[in-house]
């Protein structure tokens, strides 16, 4: 990037800014995606559990 874009003497600061911004935004997206994944997974698990519990109440002990 620095070869064809002359960012002057303070290129480090500029690139650090863009890198930190990118990292923060990427971090937010990763957090949002991971949150959604874990939530949908536990929702699905609960729904599966709930169906089983309604038919036969034997498995109530296995979920903490």
């Amino acid at each position: 990037m620095t070869e064809f874009l002359d960012l002057g003497p303070h290129a480090g600061f500029i690139l650090a800014c863009y890198a930190i911004t990118l990292a923060t935004i990427a971090g937010l997206f990763v957090w949002l995606a991971a949150d959604r994944k874990s939530l949908t997974a536990s929702l699905a698990k609960l729904e599966a559990d709930g169906v089983r519990r309604r038919s036969g109440a034997a498995s109530s002990g296995e979920r903490g």
Partner: protein, 249 residues
Amino acid sequence: MDLANPTRFMSFSGRLLPWLAGACVLAFAAGLYMTFFVAPDDYQQGATVKIMFLHVPAAWLAMMCYSIMAISALGTLVWKHPLADVSARAAAPIGAAFTFLSLVTGSLWGKPMWGTYWVWDARLTSVLVLFVMYLGLIALWRTMEDPIRAGKAAAVLTLVGAINLPIIKFSVDWWNTLHQPASVMRLDGPAIHPTILWPLLTMALAFTLLFLVMHLMAMRNEILRRRLRTLQLGAASARVASARPQAAE
């Protein structure tokens, strides 16, 4: 609004999200292209003016996010809109992240320009206070277990903050003029040249779209979290109810 129903909101936001994300990517492509290939270097600041295209939109989002939270707080307390509280809670971490970004990019801009990472300038200090308030709100939300009660408490605090922010800003301005007659930081020079202004506006648009995408995603997560909590509580009480006859036997 017919979006009061969380289920309808989920399907509507699910359809809206890809479009918003696409628009966001396009705006970022245009904004970054203009930033690096169209916008000229400032004759005083050189290439460091490119930091402005991140710093100003981040600072704009930091303030816009608090306004959204304040409106959501009104929605929680006055209109009792079921999604207002979800919106406020989803916005807080994103707002904190952008406030953090505006602080970091600001100090990385300040080091080559003024020779120091941090000055107790009125503007920087106010943003720091805003950052602390975001973190306090997040902490309040995380400490209280019941989301409804936490939402109401956070809404009260958000509104008190909205009343107090101008007072804090004023007092910090006053304090700053007392201690530092000549401000180091001047953004308001002559009118900004269009070759700088258009990239800046494009980046601001891109950041705003990014915020909307993330806010919608966080709101959807929050709705899922509440659904999960309701199901878990229901399952737990059903388990208690089914365990009781066995104990009586």
